[in-house]
Structures are given as structure tokens and as C-alpha cells.
Symmetry: C2
Subunit: 311 residues, 2 copies
């Protein structure tokens, strides 16, 4: 570090715990939620959680900003073309928590399919009677799982569901000749052929609302939708309508249009398991992701090639 410490802005209180580590590494830390007007000119980098929107109007008030280091894999809250046009580099965590996200996705799958949340509620409420066990559900063996997006997370999901005797297929915009699972001709064809659809793709402007009413109807009244990607990829209004109308069987969601999602939005929406965007953060993945952001900061200010720029 130089004598004059480099100032890094933390973009959201969620990342507050990073402050001590950044200061230990020699940075001066300022925080967006109590940022002094006089400090704007000093900010040279932002430590960021990629799903939080960083408005260009705010970034324009930081004339010396040259790096946004997102701790997360996703960076959908960052307008990358806008940043590039202004010489601001953007980095992210590169697949470091794919196994964790896949664990969570399959956990949501099992929790939904086997009524684990509802069952827990039943036992604790004293509603469990021997005469009526929970309504039996189909077995998982032989069910067809469609994976939307065969990146690190999608592949990790495919390996897991196969161990349960489920069959994996996938769809994505690009062919992957080396993938051992069949690629569907289209997303619609994948949804039609699937009992369970796992959304595991990267979110960007091109795939907002990709999981539309038509796709949900193709998945159908016995189908289960799982989303561990980003809320924006699923048409959430259409999803809620399909669940209420029983055109879609079930949904298990870790991500939402708005986070935290308003509790009232899910009142009366049947057959849902909801999770507070918790798939990727484990005690093992978080330090690795933070470490990668630190390394990107170091390289950027040392003039070395970045470790994990966004593609």
C-alpha cells in the first residue's frame, strides 16, 4: 500500500463485516449508508454484493472509481456495459460456491417434494394423527429434472439428482458438446419433458422473465419449479398466479424480484418453500469469496491482471 491509503466503499450493510478485513489489509473504508459528501472523491473501489442495484446516478458521484469488486458470483445489480464505457472494471466470485448453491437447490427440491416444511408444522401443531399420514407423494426415482443453465451450479445439480435415480437434462443458449446430459431443443421442450425445473443460469438483461407463464404451464400441475439463480429470471407474478390456479404444482425459491420479499406477497400462495437468498453463503464459501475480492482489489491497484473479471 502507498502512504496515502486507498479508499474502498462498502455498498451495503450486509457487507459490514468486511470492514475490519479491508482495514487490516491497509485500505481506508467508507460506507455508503453514512458516506460523507467530502469522501466521494476519495472512493477508488467498491466492495459490493452483486444482486444489490448500484445505480449509475450514484456511481457518477464517485469521480475516481475504477473497480467494483462483487463478493458474489452474480453481478446483476451492476450495469457492466455502463461501467466499461467509463473505464470501471467489475470482478466477481468465479464459481466458488457452486457446490453450496447446488446443495441448497437439491435441499429445496427434497423439502418441497417430500413436504418437509409442512410436515414439521404439522408435528409441532399437534395436527399429526395416525389416521391421516401426510398425503403420499410420488417417488423421486425416475423423475425428470430439467436444468436451466448448465454452468458450475447446473452441473453440480445434475450430479446430485442422478444419485437419487432422477434423470437430468438441460437447456441453455449455447451447446456444450462435452456435457454428459442431453440438451433440450428449447426451454419450452425442457419444461414440457420435466417433472422438476431447476433455474441455475446467470441472470442478466437478456433473460428477465425467461421463466414465463408459458414455461410454467408447460411444467404443469404436477411440476415443481426451483429457483436458485435470481428472481428476475422468473416472471414472479405469473408464478404466483399459476400456483394459485393450480396450473403449476409447487415452487421452492431462494431468490425473489424484491429482496427481502414482502411476506404478504406469499400469503395464500400454496405449495411453496421460501428461503432467504441463503443458497450460496456458507462458512466455507464466504471467506473464499471475500478472499477473491481482496485479491482482485490488490491486483487492480498493483496493475496486475485481475483474478476474476466478469465475462
Amino acid at each position: 500500500m502507498t502512504d496515502q491509503p486507498i479508499t474502498v466503499l462498502i455498498s451495503h450493510p450486509m457487507l459490514g463485516p468486511m470492514q475490519a478485513g479491508l482495514e487490516a489489509a491497509g485500505y481506508r473504508v467508507v460506507r455508503r449508508w453514512d458516506l460523507a459528501e467530502a469522501d466521494r472523491g476519495a472512493v477508488r473501489a467498491i466492495a459490493h454484493a452483486g444482486e444489490i442495484v448500484l445505480e449509475p446516478a450514484f456511481l457518477e458521484t464517485l469521480p475516481n472509481l475504477s473497480l467494483i469488486a462483487t463478493i458474489s458470483v452474480g453481478y446483476d445489480g451492476v450495469d457492466v456495459p455502463w461501467c466499461r464505457a467509463r473505464g470501471i472494471e467489475v470482478t466477481h466470485a468465479d464459481g466458488l460456491n457452486a457446490e453450496d448453491v447446488a446443495d441448497h437447490a437439491v435441499g429445496l427440491l427434497l423439502a418441497s417434494w417430500r413436504n418437509l416444511v409442512e410436515g414439521d408444522r404439522l408435528v409441532r401443531s399437534g395436527g399429526w394423527a395416525a389416521e391421516h399420514r401426510l398425503g403420499a407423494r410420488p417417488a423421486l426415482r425416475g423423475r425428470k429434472v430439467g436444468i436451466v443453465g448448465l454452468g458450475h451450479i447446473g452441473q453440480a445439480c445434475a450430479r446430485r439428482v442422478e444419485a437419487f435415480g432422477m434423470e437430468a437434462a438441460w437447456w441453455g443458449p449455447n451447446p456444450k458438446p462435452e456435457a454428459p446430459w442431453p440438451q433440450a431443443a428449447s426451454l419450452l421442450a425442457l419444461a414440457q419433458a420435466s417433472d422438476i425445473l431447476i433455474v441455475a443460469c446467470r441472470a442478466d438483461a437478456s433473460n428477465r422473465g425467461l421463466i414465463s407463464a408459458e414455461i410454467l404451464d408447460a411444467l404443469g400441475p404436477r411440476g415443481l419449479l426451483i429457483n436458485v439463480a435470481r428472481g428476475s429470471v422468473v416472471d414472479e407474478d405469473a408464478l404466483i398466479a399459476a400456483l394459485k390456479d393450480k396450473r403449476l404444482g409447487r415452487a421452492a425459491l431462494d431468490v425473489f424480484w424484491q429482496e427481502p420479499t414482502p411476506a404478504a406477497r406469499w400469503e395464500g400462495v400454496p405449495n411453496t418453500v421460501l428461503s432467504p437468498h441463503a443458497a450460496g453463503g456458507t462458512l466455507d464459501s464466504i471467506p473464499k469469496m471475500i478472499g477473491q475480492a481482496h485479491e482482485n482489489l490488490r491486483r487492480h491497484f498493483a496493475g496486475e491482471p485481475l483474478l476474476s473479471p466478469v465475462p
Copy 2:
């Protein structure tokens, strides 16, 4: 069938839905919960759910009983030596739902480890705040899973957890030289070496309370106990005490000492996921298990060797 139909007793209202099928197969059906005194002599077989206790004092009132056909895999409610001494044969379902039970066991594992029940409650209560995501948990990759009892269910659990990057080991009273997973020297050694212990053994008089306070302490404050076998295998009072004292980290239970388990018993017991003995019953397994009981009834009264007598 003969002109005089054979009378089969259904032992519990849970099995009420079997009545139509038995009658369609030509049996006369009577039901324990409204059994006329005059019908006791006619009963020649019982269609039974193996976890329900069939008291010898009751069986003694059925002088012509010669078969107890349990629909379930377990038959812990039947005193098999007592029955054998009186010439009463006992059959069960032979491993037909092992894959379903393993699905449920791994579902409980993920639901507990990734806080899925608690997370759902948090989102629905409006308690999810961006500032405090759910407390991060360790990753599952690399965790050690100890399996108590390497039968059909235990093996199906081992195959599943390996797909998550967990390491499986097991303990059981008999060596299994062909098993691809290491056998621990003792149950205590298995618990000491495990992050997660899955109880998947057959329950009988010899293993009541096998998972004792000592075993739970060996599993320890970060450990997770899963039970999909029978409640009797775990010392449930010791389990509740260990969870309250934080000597054991977590438990996810599908089976209990008393079923339905009283809701009040679990008030204030932290870090538990409870499930109403739902692991084995799926729309795929139940018809197969009922079909096997029908076939055992048919063979018994035709004088043919039974399909699946208890060992």
C-alpha cells in the same frame, strides 16, 4: 378362494384404504376398531402396519390366526418369537421403499443443515432483513456421514451423500466385505468421526436405545442426528436433553418413541426438524408394499412358500 371367504382383520384405521382391495380379492374384511366378538374366531390373517404394537393378549383372542402380513418394511410392533411359537407366520415388505426412505433421510439432512424450515418461517413472518442473512452454516462438501445399519436404506443413503461430496462410513453388527464404504470399529468410533449420523438400521429388542447419551455426546455440539429407522433405536429423552444443553447440534427425525409424538414434547427443543413418519410412503412404494402383502396372503392360504417372511 373357497366358497367360504377367508376373514382378514385390518389392525389399524391407517390401513382402512386396504379394505376395498382385500374385498375385491375375495376376502371378508373385519376391522379391529369395530370388531364384533363373534368375528374373532373367523380371523385367519391380519393386515398390519409393523410399527403398531400387536399385543399378544389381543392375538390370543384370535384362535384361528395363522398369518400377520405387515405392509411395512419394519415389524417392530410384532413379537415374532411369540408368534412363531404359536405357528403364526409373519411377513413384511422387503426393501421395497428403501430409495424413498433414503430420499427422505437426505431431505431431512439438507433441511436441517441448510436451515430450510427456519428459513421458510423467517420469510413468511416478514423477519428476513437484508442486514442479517441467516447465520451462515458450514458447507456440506467434505463432511463425514456415519450410517448406522448398512442395509438397503443405509446403502441408498451412502450413494446419495457421496454425490454431495460428503464421505460415507458405517457401522453395523456384521461385517459386509463387499460394501464400498469403510466400516467403523464401533458405533462410538463412528459417532466420534462423524459430522452427521444417519440411523437406518432395523429396530428390534436388541437395539432399543442404541443411540445413547454417550453416542450423542460423541457426535457432539456441531453434529446432526438423523433418524429414519424407528424411534426406539434412539434414547429420545437423552436426545432432547443433549439438544437443550447444546451438547448435540441438531436433529432431524421422522420417527419417535410415541407416534404421533406429542407436540408439547418438542417445545423449546432447539435445532430440530420433525417429520410425521413419512419417509417410506410414496405413491410408488405404497401400492408395491400392499401388493406384496396381498401376494403373501395368497401364497399362505394356497400353501405356497411366502414371498417375504421376516428373517
